[in-house]
């Protein structure tokens, strides 16, 4: 699904912030991406989402070399990936409903064709009574759930979630994680960036990608 081969990234003439990354995200897999703050988790997520270009190495997404992608290819690939950003990246002038419906609207679908789906998903994440509210009046947890709903609305083959439980209480965090697990069972590959060890320990079956010192270490299941 995603394969990194000797990937490295540096900003300008600075040192490599990530180097010699070799790993792959397999279809229907579930993994946590973890590491200390500032280690490069978000940067690695951006590389996987193709919003950053590596300075060396090859990234293959859905079998295609990212360096050879045209803009249209990139658009098509991004429609197969759902992303939850650490800072949510909701559009403040749109309502929660419009934000969640955005990926479907961007595909050119008619509003009447997706209305029921969006409403159902918003109810599912507990925002059924906040559909008309805009992000500035939503709480951190509500924004988080709206961002997750936006990522899930296209039923992505790959879900990339950067700290998706960072702004919610532990109970809701656990329930959201269960939602991701359920998605994984339904066939979606999931990558969740988090530094919450307790949360990861509850899902011992998941693979762990640990970023630190510009390198990546992979543990299949709980590290010893």
């Amino acid at each position: 699904m995603i394969r990194f081969e000797n990937v490295g990234l540096r900003y300008g003439m600075g040192p490599e912030v990530l180097g010699d990354l070799n790993f792959s995200v397999e279809p229907q897999s579930f993994q946590f991406l973890t590491g200390p703050s500032g280690a490069g988790k978000t940067t690695l997520m951006r590389l996987m989402l193709l919003s950053l270009r590596p300075t060396r190495g090859t990234i293959r997404v859905f079998g295609q070399d990212s360096a050879a992608l045209t803009k249209d290819d990139l658009t098509t690939l991004r429609r197969r990936i759902g992303a939850v950003f650490q800072d949510f990246r909701l559009l403040d002038h749109l309502t929660a409903y419009e934000n969640v419906a955005l990926p479907l609207r961007a595909m050119g679908r008619q509003e009447s064709s997706y209305r029921a789906e969006v409403v159902e998903l918003l109810r599912w994440v507990g925002l059924g009574d906040r559909m008309n509210a805009s992000p500035p009046v939503l709480s951190g947890g509500e924004k988080q759930r709206a961002a997750i709903a936006r990522a899930l609305i296209v039923r992505p083959e790959l879900l990339l979630a950067d700290e998706p439980t960072g702004n919610v209480d532990p109970g809701l965090a656990r329930r959201l994680l269960r939602l991701f697990v359920e998605l994984h069972r339904l066939g979606t590959a999931v990558v969740i960036a988090t530094h919450d060890l307790q949360l990861m320990d509850q899902f011992g079956f998941a693979r762990r990608l640990v970023v630190g010192d510009s390198k990546l270490t992979i543990f299949d299941g709980l590290p010893s």
Binding site: R78, L91, L94, A106, M107
Partner: protein, 316 residues
Amino acid sequence: MNEPIVEPILAVESESSFKTNAPLIPRDSVAGRALVVVIAIMTFLACLTAGAALLVADASQAWRSDVLREATIQVKSRAGDDVESLVAKAVAIATKTPDVESVHALSQAESEKLLEPWLGAGFDLSQLPVPRLIAVQLRGQRSEDLATLRSALASAVPQADLDDHRMWAARLGAMANAVVILAAALFVLMIVAMGTAIGFATRGAVAANREVVEVLHLVGASNTFIAKEFQAHFRRLGFRGALIGGLAAIAFFAIASLLSFWWAHSPGGEEIAAMFGSFALRSLGYLALVVVCAAVTLLTGLLSREIVMRHLQNLQ
């Protein structure tokens, strides 16, 4: 793992009450309002220029038509000539010419009155060889009839000269054309200035909405989709500006037309009427103003789309 996944919360807003499909580019911004004002002013000026050009073109057509439907016979008497008999002979020849509608011989007093503006009233003109004038009104603008009249006069009244006013009409036409060309050049300059303002505003809007563009890209929107959103945004702004400017211009011409009827008989009014006709745009003129407004709206949308597409192509 037996815990329910996410329990739906039962409180749900009425599905018919929530907003859908709001513009992706925020509608109200200071830059957007400023652009509406700029477009309104430029549309107003462009409509004024176009309207003035149409008025001058119409008036020039009317002048040329009037001037070419008239001719003047000058009878210059020499010593010993019986002027009255020469005038009568010329009148008779002109009257018999086909397509001559009417012939009016100006009396000596009428001819002398024409010189009053230059020589003053009460000047004794009896010692001056003031030519006698005969005004000939034609049914059409047929030069062959004048050629017949000219040759008939040359053989029967050699003292008579026929002036068909063509040189004067050509000068009027050239002047009117120059005014129309100048107006067209001003119109083009205004459209270019408006296009430049729209270009700056579009680049500003793309920069101000960089976050929106990024999010749209990340959720899988194509460049064409994003450009269409910007196009719709700027078309709305263009429409508002063009509507305000166009309505102001239409109101201006409607009021000017009413005022010109009011002032028609004052000395100043007559001169303005000579230059611009009745100062009333025909219905085609008003239609032209509507076309200018529609073109401004379209231009605003298309130009912004083009600029956004170029920007997005260079972005990644």
